[in-house]
């Protein structure tokens, strides 16, 4: 049923009275010219109304805790509840970021230990936890590449090479760092087109941004060759950690030859996605880039933990936020990493890969077209519904919407851009084989429904709180806030 806007539930003068001081303080010392004239437009509701409204709204979401969520490239695996409750212990929650290091040794020890574990599992020299999301990690990485060239006076390097299948953040980041983007194609076998790469690499190359396994779900087999090629040309290699879950503990980006890597802790280290963040985009740094590590970073000296700043890293690219990063997210990642431990990390990669290959095999057996069927799936894989679109008139988007009705969150659709009518499917290691089988059955059911009545599938979803939304209207007749109308 429709849920009113919180504003429409309100009545003038109402608020949750247990939550504010009983009296209005005297503000007469602030001259009137600085004072607000009219109250802000705000909800005016009781505590029960708030609790009920947001509890009911929450039930309108799919989430890992309620549904299988095989969203390719997003690693929607189980977020252990202990990571939440232990990160929210009062000793951590109430600590002011400017409080001296001496009073936060427990907190800093967790971050230090996390840095060490991440460096080990990625094969990098050091780790900074400062970036607050994957995209900020990317930014930091490319900014470090730039700082490296700048520091050497090597200022003719104007290009960053990016595969055409890359995440949108890659080219956007390169531009933020003042680089031009040089796109290279993906070969038919799913790997980077080496000929195109060789042609692209040169003295103008600042670096290359790669995801490995790549966004088409396969391991880049010639990665060592690529690393040598780029390094010999004087460029550096940036590793986009979006797909790190696929190889955690099995293969290390540092060993592949990467100079810098970001790790989406909200993917591989299972911190919550939170409906769009907060994430954390820790940066792993190789030998060449060590002097440019972003600040702050946790150091250890004589058993005491402390924040390292520009004093310790004078050539740092600098600070990325007002404080030290998404500390609470980092604590969650730390708890998760400790529960996994050495063997557990490796198993993440193994079972994420097993689940993906099993699901790919099953879908293929049911007649769906797997992209790159000759390759091993990494932790994700692609099917193309081009055939279904042509023969039955239902698109990948239609399948995606109908899956919602059947209780499955849709896989990522229409990404990567180079595969027509594609679904990028990432089951993750925390799902059971029975749930994978259920997903296969749902896909088969939808195809059968489409054969019977394509318009039925095209009309999906039917069982969600709303049916398909008018996105054109949303973008053209912008309605971005409540304007005081009645509900």
């Amino acid at each position: 049923s429709q849920e009113s806007l919180i504003f429409d539930l309100g009545r003038s003068g109402r608020y949750a009275r247990a939550q504010a001081p009983a009296e209005h303080a005297d503000l007469a010392d602030i001259p009137a010219e600085f004072r607000r004239k009219q109250r802000a437009v705000m909800p005016e509701v009781s505590e029960l109304q708030v609790v009920r409204h947001y509890t009911r709204l929450s039930q309108k979401n799919f989430s890992i805790d309620t549904n299988f969520y095989p969203l390719g490239s997003c690693t929607m695996k189980y977020n252990p509840r202990a990571c939440n409750s232990l990160a929210m212990l009062p000793g951590f929650l109430d600590r002011h970021p400017h409080a001296p290091d001496s009073t936060g040794q427990g907190f800093l020890a967790c971050l230090y230990d996390l840095q060490e574990m991440l460096a080990e599992v990625t094969g990098m020299k050091t780790v900074s936890l400062a970036p607050m999301a994957g995209a900020q990690g990317e930014f930091a990485g490319v900014a470090m590449i730039r700082a490296y060239h700048d520091a050497r006076g090597d200022d003719g390097r104007t290009e960053i090479i990016v595969p055409d299948a890359a995440h949108g953040t890659n080219p956007a980041t390169a531009v933020m760092c003042g680089y031009k983007v040089r796109e290279i194609p993906t070969a038919a076998d799913g790997d980077v087109d080496m000929a195109a790469l060789k042609e692209a690499v040169g003295p103008q190359t600042a670096g290359i941004m790669l995801t490995n396994p790549s966004t088409v779900g396969v391991f880049e087999r010639r990665i060592q060759e690529i690393a040598t090629l780029v390094h010999e040309a004087g460029g550096l290699l940036y590793y986009d950690g979006a797909n790190l879950n696929a190889i955690l503990g099995k293969v290390r980006p540092g060993d592949m030859g990467f100079d810098v890597i970001h790790i989406n802790l909200h993917k591989t280290f299972s911190t919550p996605h939170g409906g769009g963040g907060p994430g954390a985009g820790a940066i792993g740094v190789g030998e060449r880039l060590l002097p440019h590590t972003p600040i702050p970073q946790v150091g250890r000296d004589n058993g005491q933990y402390y924040w390292r700043t520009e004093k310790d890293i004078p050539q740092t690219i600098g600070r990325l936020s007002a404080f030290g990063g998404n500390a609470g997210v980092l604590l969650r990642a730390y708890v998760y990493a400790r529960m996994l431990g050495r063997d557990g990390m490796t198993r993440v990669a193994e079972f994420a890969t097993l689940n993906a290959n099993y699901l790919m095999t099953r879908l293929k057996a049911e007649g769906f077209q797997v992209w790159l069927p000759e390759r091993r799936a990494s932790h994700e894989f692609i099917i193309s519904l081009k055939g279904e679109a042509k023969e039955l008139g239902v698109t990948a988007g239609d399948f995606a919407k109908r899956l919602l009705d059947l209780g499955y969150h849709a896989p990522t659709a229409y990404f990567p851009l180079l595969v027509p009518e594609c679904l990028l499917i990432e089951p993750t290691e925390t799902e059971t084989v029975d749930d994978l089988d259920g997903f296969v059955q749902a896909m088969v059911t939808i195809r059968e429904e489409a054969r019977q009545d394509k318009d039925f599938v095209k009309g999906a979803p039917y069982n969600m709180p709303v049916r398909r939304l008018d996105e054109v209207k949303a973008a053209k007749e912008l309605d971005l806030k409540w304007q005081g109308e009645a509900s």
Binding site: Y15, A20, K473
Partner: protein, 455 residues
């Protein structure tokens, strides 16, 4: 195998289906010299019970007494309902709401958040959050440069009364895009910007002026006059504000004749625990004219096939996943869960509650600083109106005093000398609504004792 559900039988069945003998065979495309590096530096896994014990011990070791530190992060009361609801699995473990039909909870909540933030700021539109206050200023600078089509200079005026950590972060982030941040010196007696000072830029091509209200020293800037100066000179105005303060102070949308162009800042005061520095969230609002230049997610209200109200991400053509190297920003994941908390916080407090909170913070800070000023060796540093944070001047360097009081369990404010040697004796102090009279007594006593000894 923590969190992995596979039984031996499951594994056998799955491997048979795939047609391989072992899981390792699935990694046969990885060059053999790279595979299975061993991870001697990573300890064995522990059970939830064991890590819980360790975390409890570590957290307990970090506990501390009264907090008079602000400087960009504020200890406010966070209603229990906020996080009990925010951490519900349906919010906590959901992805960015790309599949609108399966994400109406998060989408409606963001629409409500946008409405609240627009209302609080007096602005036309809000996005769905940025990382934090510091990076929000960086994004605002980039946005202003894009949005101010008349300006080609990329020059941004930034008073030295803006949070220095925000300036640092902004420099890091915008540094490679031909943008220059030029410092505007404040009046050393008032700790605020004189409009007169800006006259030196009269007639120059300036993309934007940044105004922080209350400013880094807790002082109130002449936001009206500064805004009018900037806009008359063709510059946009970027407001950096404390959202709690906006319950009682003139909001950016009402600054000067036309209002600020962009309002941004740190959302932490709105229901987010201090949490050692994060996660917080940056907010950003703007005038209607600039909406398409705003970075980050934006939710719009629309209708579904049956005409029912629904909510969806909109204006996605600005974003990196569509526009790639032409995007307004590379931001993808933002701080969704923090926005959830802030939305619940603002709903509980409403305008009335937030006014009371803001008022109490200010009254407590006034009381605190009046008490502190009575101590021998302490004076108030800047003249003029302030809000909820204030600078005191000691008769000796502040940093050692700060460290000494911290060891006694009192966080005595922020030593401003860390950013400006001229303020080496100054502490920026703050007393929010959580501070009691007993806390103030404790601070006054501790500081009195510390200063009683010869410097």
């Amino acid at each position: 195998m923590p969190f992995i559900p596979h039984t031996d039988e499951d594994i056998r069945r799955m491997l048979a289906e795939v047609g391989v003998d072992s899981i390792n065979a699935l990694f046969d495309e990885v060059p053999s010299d790279l595979i299975d590096p061993g991870l001697p530096g990573i300890p064995e896994g522990v059970s939830e019970m064991e890590i819980a014990r360790e975390m409890n011990e570590r957290a307990a070791g970090d506990m501390l007494g009264p907090c008079f530190l602000g400087a960009g992060a504020y200890r406010h009361h966070v209603p229990a309902a906020v996080w009990e609801i925010t951490t519900r699995g349906e919010y906590y473990s959901a992805y960015t709401p790309y599949q609108a039909e399966a994400s109406q909870g998060t989408l409606q909540l963001i629409y409500e958040y946008q409405s609240m933030m627009s209302g609080l700021m007096g602005m036309d539109a809000s996005n769905a959050s940025l990382y934090d206050g510091g990076s929000a200023l960086a994004e605002a600078v980039l946005m202003a440069v894009r949005a101010n089509r008349k300006s080609k200079s990329g020059r941004i005026l930034v008073p030295d009364t803006v949070n220095p950590m925000y300036c640092d972060a902004t420099r890091t982030i915008v540094g490679n895009q031909g943008i220059s941040l030029e410092t505007v010196a404040s009046n050393a007696d008032t700790g605020a910007v004189d409009v007169e000072t800006l006259k030196q830029w009269d007639g120059e091509d300036i993309a934007a002026l940044v105004i922080q209200q209350p400013n880094w020293f807790g002082r109130l800037e002449e936001a009206q006059a500064l805004t009018d100066w900037a806009q008359r000179n063709g510059a946009l105005v970027i407001a950096v504000v404390n959202p709690t303060a906006m319950a009682v102070l003139t909001p950016p949308g009402e600054w000067g004749e036309n209002g600020a162009d962009i309002a941004c800042g740190e959302g932490q005061p709105l229901g987010i625990p201090l949490s050692s520095g994060g996660p917080y969230f940056g907010f950003m609002c703007c005038r209607k004219a600039h909406v398409r230049q705003m970075p980050g997610r934006i939710v719009g209200r629309t209708v579904d096939l049956e005409g029912r109200t629904g909510y969806t991400l909109t204006l996605q053509a600005r974003e990196q996943h569509i526009r790639r190297n032409k995007a307004t920003s590379n931001i993808c994941t933002n701080q969704g869960l923090m926005v959830t908390a802030a939305t619940i916080y603002l709903s509980l407090l409403g305008a009335e509650g937030l006014e009371r909170v803001a008022g109490q913070c200010h009254a407590n800070t006034r009381k605190l600083t009046e008490r502190l000023a009575d101590i021998k060796g302490v004076s108030l540093r800047f003249d003029g109106p302030y809000f909820h944070e204030r600078v005191i001047e000691l008769d000796r360097p502040a940093e050692p005093v700060f460290q000494q009081l911290a060891s006694q369990g009192v966080l005595a404010g922020y030593p401003l000398g860390r950013h400006d040697k001229r303020l080496g004796n100054a502490l920026l102090v703050c007393a929010t609504e959580t501070v009691t009279d007993a806390d103030i007594d404790r601070f006054v006593d501790a500081l009195s004792h510390a200063l009683a000894k010869a410097a």
